[in-house]
Symmetry: C2
Subunit: 474 residues, 2 copies
């Protein structure tokens, strides 16, 4: 049997279906390659079906053996051949940027559809089609459904069997829900989109934000066992963790440690704030997932934590009454470009234009109708044409926050400034070509000639312009 590198190996065993297998039956498998041993938890999928999923990250012949207190699931073994594929693997945090496991750069360009998997299938299909045409390489989405303004519909199925009226069985899981989620994560995988899975959140009326620790732990083990082998999964412990008043920082430490211990593929781990930050300095946090409108602070957080900073929320383009859901596309772009040129990553798209169906992209997916997506695609193209993983932040002067790669590449965003020129101090002994980028009009104008030393760069005198300087040979 052959499995391509970073793809999913999955094996199924038939075991006991009586009693409560979710709680009572334990199954692990040990995967071996040379001297390496990787221990992976299996999960019960209902109807006597036990599964183990594993993502091989290295080429060669992997063997495995199961261990279980249940005799019929113990000591099952086999092997497969991991062969080269076309995938780059899961995304890793390296310094203050991201790479796929094989070293290929990854640029997080994110959108938010919190509850899209809880919508009817036709709407989910529409979401996937919209994503296909979009610039997004990452999506934030919740496992638990969402109850909030413009989110009044009950979902078809839940993580746990049951319903709001009948209550939930917290001692088991709902295979039908997870089968749907399996499929949707595969659709995202096919589009090359990372799924930032939000494990807990406060927008609840079912009781999922205040479960017993025992239930939470079992939930986390189950979800990680089921999805760690999806190479496009990220773990977000919560959305607006500090608004989950029933839980403390110690609870979140526990979530992180379980996820870290259970995840054989070591996917990215973060937690998103409402007002107050979690301590992003803790070792199990791989990167910052930030909600703030003042994205010029990105460089401060970068300095504080030395980890990649993803601005996952800075207000949504839309027209609903709430301040967070009614900024213009121009303002969203300004905040995103500000984040990027302060050393962060643009994870923060979302759309909240009202329609009579109450299908707002930010919650339910559907259609993208805003002005920002094409401009975000343009921003992505600028980043992807940069030496993106050599970029670091510096303040050349107090009003010149920029990212640069050594003396080879500089990117400076003027934001709300409508300056009609800018005097630039180029490093000695090096010539540069200079592009004036209109981030809103999506144009790149190469200025004539080359620039060196102290040079005056003419600018168009309007807002939302960036300057890009690239070193050239004589």
């Amino acid at each position: 049997m052959e499995i391509r590198q970073y793809e999913r190996f999955e094996i199924s065993f038939t075991g006991p279906s009586g009693g409560n297998p979710f709680c009572e039956v334990e199954l692990h498998a040990e995967f071996r390659l040379g001297g390496r041993v990787v221990r992976v938890r299996g999960f019960y999928d209902g109807d006597g079906d036990y599964r183990v999923r594993f993502m091989p990250d290295a080429l060669g012949t992997w063997s495995f053996t199961t261990t279980s207190p249940t005799a019929e699931l113990d000591g099952r073994s086999g092997s497969f051949e991991c062969v080269p594929g076309e995938s780059h693997g899961p995304v890793r945090a390296i310094g203050t940027h991201f790479e796929y496991d094989d070293g290929e750069p990854y640029v997080p360009v994110g959108t938010t559809c919190y509850a899209w998997i809880h919508q009817p299938e036709p709407l989910r299909d529409q979401t996937i089609e919209a994503l296909r045409k979009s610039p997004f390489t990452k999506i934030r989405m919740c496992l638990f459904p969402k109850r909030y303004a413009y989110n009044e519909n009950e979902p078809e199925s839940f993580v746990f069997p049951g319903s709001l009226s009948q209550g939930f069985d917290y001692t088991s899981f709902n295979p039908a829900f997870f089968a749907k989620l399996d499929g949707e994560l595969d659709r995202l995988l096919e589009l090359g989109i990372e799924a930032d899975l939000i494990l807990f959140h406060p927008y609840d009326h079912w009781g999922f934000k205040q479960m017993d620790p025992e239930v939470e732990n079992r939930y986390l083990e189950y979800v990680v066992a089921r999805y760690a082998a999806y190479r496009n999964v990220w773990w977000s412990m919560a959305n607006e963790w500090d608004f989950m008043r029933e839980k403390t920082a110690a609870d979140f430490h526990r979530y992180f440690r379980i996820v870290q211990a259970e995840d054989h593929a070591a996917h990215l781990r973060s937690v998103h704030n409402g007002n107050d930050f979690y301590d992003h300095g803790l070792p199990w946090v791989t990167h910052l997932s930030i909600q703030r409108w003042e994205t010029q602070q990105t460089s401060t957080w970068l300095g504080q934590y030395g980890k990649p900073v993803v601005i996952d929320e800075c207000g949504y383009e839309g027209n609903i009454q709430e301040a967070w859901g009614s900024i213009s596309g121009q303002e969203l772009l300004r905040r995103q470009w500000t984040a990027v040129t302060h050393g962060g990553w643009p994870g923060a798209h979302g759309e909240t234009y009202y329609n009579d169906r109450e299908e707002l992209w930010w919650a339910k997916g559907g259609m993208l109708t805003g002005e920002s997506p094409p401009r975000i695609a343009f921003l992505r193209s600028i980043l992807e044409s940069a030496p993106v993983n050599q970029l670091s932040f510096e303040k050349a002067r107090w009003d010149q926050p920029q990212i640069h790669s050594g003396e080879e590449y500089y990117l400076f965003y003027l934001g709300s400034s409508q300056a009609s020129w800018r005097v630039w101090q180029f490093p000695q002994g090096q010539k540069y070509v200079v592009d004036v980028i209109d981030t809103w009009q999506m144009t790149v104008e190469r200025l004539p000639g080359t620039f060196a030393g102290e040079a005056r760069i003419p600018l168009p005198g309007r807002e939302f312009v960036a300057i890009r300087a690239t070193a050239v040979a004589d």
Copy 2:
């Protein structure tokens, strides 16, 4: 002799012209009305001419007698009749707002021309003509000239006799300079514009930012003796006080206390920051003079200090290369409206559009060419038609910072929000008319009918809109 209330009584005496009268001759006058005694310092104006200026704030027969160690200036006396006039008197800080001395509301709508009095007369005339047509009720201006980008010209005259090349005589003052300033303050007075006189600043190449304390004290005494009787004068200890590296907070305490002690008319006193605030809680500070771009913080400062907050600088409308001098008129207006609806006052206009004459309004005056002045006039009209001195700040909800007068009047600014409606909770048992104000288009649209209880206010779905609700009888 009759002097109208709040106008200037000035009397001149001939005295010694030998030696150095600026340092060696002291003159005071005591003005009496009934039981009140007001002691006022006189000043030397050159050529043996000694003057005392006094602003009577109460009607009746005032008498005065001079006191001086110099015999010929001692014991001179006289009287005048203070009669009703048309002036409202100097501006006072009352709670968190301003009033003229007679209780008439004063709305500070400020502009900045730091060095306008140091420009040639034709340019000064142009400035006065521009101010005449402008909405401004306050101007920030320096007594010392300014050396800075776009400020390279030497002035005709200085506070002290001398010049950059020949040095300055710090033991005397230059009557020619002060005669010019007298005249310009009178021109502002005629326009009803308050002069926020900046006594020190760091943009120097003459040495004025690092004078000896003895010289500074004499300078402050002289300036206050000369101008306290101008009812339109405010005292600003410094511009960007924290950028005057040679001076400490203790020096600024000294400045404030001298100005406070010497000023018989008790004009407003403040100090303007670069980065760091002076302690605005100190008793001699009458109001806050703030430089910050993030004007949504206004309500925080209001809560901290309980004094009026004037946003005197939040970036200038213009197109020069510096970030502080290249924001759009729209962005300036957004910051001003944000300040106002967080309980502050819009002191922060300035223009920095480049022209070949290097006559940038913010420094030299001249012509107003920006997009913001008519919109600032509109903002002023909104404030002047409000119960302006009953307004206080409140946060009705986290994204609804508003100013209001009890349950009679509400003003809420949506800023960058392009919300297409807003649900408002009106106080029980009261009906309201609602205006939708476009702060940029300068339109006021009265919505049909009246509103009460929980009501949905339709909005145009574009940025820079404000909502005004006014209680009406049934």
